[in-house]
Amino acid sequence: MTPELKTPFSPRKNMGVVLAIIAIAFFIGLPLLKNNFLLSIVMEMFLLAYLGQTWNIFSGSTGLLSFGHAAFFGIGAYTSTILLLKFNLSPWIGMLVGGLLSACVGMAIAYLSLRYKVRGVFFALGALACSEFIRLLTLAWIPLTNGAQGIMIPWKGENLLMFAFGVRKKYLSYYVILIMLALCSYIAYKIKKSRLGYYLAAINGNEDAAEMLGIHALKYQVMTMGISTFLAAWAGTFYAQYYQHFEPDVIFGAMRNFNIIFPVVLGGSGTVLGPIVGAVILQGFEGIVRNIIPSNWYGVPRIFYGLILVILMMYMPGGIVNFVKRKLRHSSPEKKTSAGGK
C-alpha cells in the first residue's frame, strides 16, 4: 500500500461522514414533525435495532448464534416491572437490576455451554433451551408473574423519574430509545476496536490458534455475553414502560427470537451498522407488506423472511453491510495494488 494515496480525508470517507450527519440530524429532528404515528414506527425500528445490536455484540463478534436473547429481553421487562409494582422502585434502577440479573443468567448459560468442544451447536441449543425454560417458568409461576395474562402497568400520571412519559410526550420516549440505540452502537463499536474485540475476532477465526497465543477463549466469550445480555435487559424495561403491558408469549415467543436475529443477519452481523440497516429495511418491508398482503393471509410475510434468510445464507452470508464493504474495497484504487487481502 503506497502511503501517499492514503489520506485521512478521502472523498469516500467525506461522503460517509456527511451522510451520517444528515441521518443523525434527521432522527434527532424527527419529533419536530409532530407526527406521533411516524414516531412510533421509528421507535419500533429503534427497539428492533437496539435488540439486534445487543445480540450483535455477542453473536456478531464471537460467531456463536444465540437463539435465546428473547429471554434476556424478558428478564429485563419482568424484573423492572415486578420491582416497580411491588416495591415502587423506579424502573431506571429496575433497569440496572434487570440488567445484572440478565447478565448473570447469560454468563451462566454461556459458561455452561461453551466449556466443551462442540461449542456452536451446544450454545445455540443451550440458549434456546434457556429461553424456552424461562418462558415456561414465567407462564407457570403465576403468583409472581401473573402467568399467561401478563403484567399491566397502571398509569399513574407522568413522572420522568419513574420512566413514565405518556402518550402526549411521546418524543421523550423517542429520545430515550434513540439515546439507548446510540449508546449501544457506541459500545459495540468500542468493543470492536478494543483489545476485547481483537481477541474475539481471533477466537472467531481460529479458536485453537488463539488459545495457543494465550487468549482465554471462554473468559472473553462469557464476558461479552454478559455485556450483551446486560444491555438486552434494558430493552425489556423500555418495552414494558412504553407499551405498559406485556405477556410471556409476546416477550419470549419463538418469533421474538427470530425478530431479534433476522434484522442483524440481514444487515450484517459483526458490523456496527448492520443491525440498524437491517432494522430499517425490515421495518420498511413490514410496512409495505402490511398494505399489500391481506391480513388473513397468515404467515405470508414470514414466508418471505424465511426465503430471504435462506437466500441470504447461500449468497450473502455476511449480510448487506459486509457485502457493500467488500464491493467498496474491491473498487478502491489502492487495494488493487496490494496483494491478497480479504
Binding site: 456463536l64 456452536g120 445455540a124 415456561l136 404467515g299 435462506v310 441470504l312 445464507m313
Partner: protein, 295 residues
C-alpha cells in the same frame, strides 16, 4: 386407582410417547453423526409428514398407518432432493450459516402450512378411542400403543440397516472419517443424500404415527424439534442407540412431570433436564459416536 396406579400409568404412557421421541431423535442424530450438520428444520419435516398422513386419511380414506408408509416414502424423496440441491452447498460453510439456513427453511415450511391451514386439525379414526386394558387398574389407548410399536420397529430397522447392510456400513464409515471413506471409494455425496433422506423419513414417520392422538397444526414441529435435540444430546450426539434409550427416558420424565408440575408445563422438565445435562454431563449419558468423536 390409587396414586401408585397413576404413577404407573404415567410411566407406561411415558414409554409409549418416548418411542416417538426416539424416532425423531434417531433421524436427528443420524444426520448429525454422519454429516455433522444440525438440522433445525427437522420439526418442520415432521409436521409435513403429519399433514400428508392427515390429508391422506381425510380426503382419501387411507388408514393413517398406511399413510405413514406413504408419507415416509414421499419425505424420503423430498429429503433426498433437499439434500442434493440445498444442503450440499452448505456443507462447507460454518455452523452459523448452516443453522440459520435450516432456521429459514423451517420458517418457510411452517408458515406455508400456517397460510394454508391456520387451525388445529385432529384426525379421527374409527378405533381412536379403543383402549387396551393393562393389568387390572389401567388401560392404554390403542393408538398410542400402535404408534410406539411402529416407532420402535422403525428405529430398530434403521439400526439393523446401519449395522448389517453394505450401504449402512458405508454410512457408518462416512460418519467415522469422511476422508478415509472417500479413500476407500465411498460416494460421499450419495451417502449424504441417503442419510439425510432417512433422517427426514424418520421425522415424517414420527409425525405420521401420532396423528390419531395429537393435533396437527403448523407449529407442532417446534415442540418435537427441541425435545428431539434434548434426546439427542442425552443419548450422545451421533449415537443411535443412545437416542433410542434417551427418547424413552425423556418420555417417562415428561410423563412424570405432568404429575408433579403445576399447570402441566411438562416441557419445563425436559428443558430442565437439558440444562442439567449441560452442567453435569454435556457429552450425554452415553458416548459420542461418529462425526463428533473426532470433533
Amino acid at each position: 386407582m390409587g396414586f401408585g396406579g397413576v404413577v404407573i400409568a404415567a410411566l407406561i404412557n411415558g414409554v409409549l410417547t418416548g418411542g416417538v421421541y426416539s424416532l425423531t431423535a434417531v433421524g436427528l442424530t443420524l444426520i448429525w453423526g454422519v454429516m455433522g450438520i444440525s438440522n433445525f428444520a427437522h420439526g418442520s419435516f415432521l409436521m409435513v409428514g403429519m399433514y400428508i398422513t392427515y390429508w391422506g386419511t381425510t380426503l382419501l380414506g387411507i388408514d393413517p398407518y398406511i399413510g405413514c408408509l406413504i408419507s415416509m416414502a414421499v419425505m424420503f424423496v423430498v429429503g433426498w432432493l433437499v439434500q442434493k440441491y440445498l444442503v450440499e452447498r452448505m456443507m462447507d460453510l460454518p455452523h452459523y450459516n448452516q443453522m440459520l439456513l435450516f432456521l429459514g427453511l423451517s420458517i418457510v415450511i411452517e408458515n406455508s402450512a400456517l397460510f394454508f391451514w391456520p387451525d388445529y386439525k385432529q384426525l379421527q379414526v374409527s378405533y381412536q378411542f379403543n383402549l387396551i386394558p393393562f393389568g387390572n387398574f389401567t388401560s392404554l389407548e390403542l393408538v398410542r400403543v400402535i404408534a410406539f410399536a411402529i416407532a420402535v420397529s422403525l428405529t430398530t430397522g434403521v439400526y439393523l440397516f446401519l449395522k448389517f447392510t453394505s450401504l449402512g456400513k458405508s454410512i457408518r464409515a462416512t460418519s467415522q472419517n469422511v476422508f478415509a471413506a472417500k479413500v476407500v471409494g465411498i460416494n460421499i455425496k450419495k451417502i449424504n443424500c441417503v442419510t439425510f433422506a432417512i433422517g427426514i423419513a424418520c421425522a415424517a414417520g414420527a409425525g405420521a404415527v401420532i396423528t390419531p392422538f395429537f393435533p396437527t397444526y403448523y407449529s407442532v414441529g417446534s415442540l418435537f424439534l427441541l425435545t428431539g435435540y434434548v434426546v439427542t444430546c442425552l443419548g450422545g450426539m451421533g449415537n443411535l442407540a443412545g437416542a433410542m434409550v434417551g427418547g424413552l427416558i425423556i418420555g417417562v420424565a415428561e410423563s412424570l412431570g405432568t404429575i408433579i408440575l403445576p399447570g402441566g408445563q411438562k416441557q419445563l422438565l425436559t428443558y430442565g433436564i437439558f440444562l442439567l445435562l449441560l452442567v453435569f454431563k454435556p457429552k450425554g449419558l452415553f458416548k459420542f459416536a461418529g462425526y463428533w468423536q473426532s470433533h
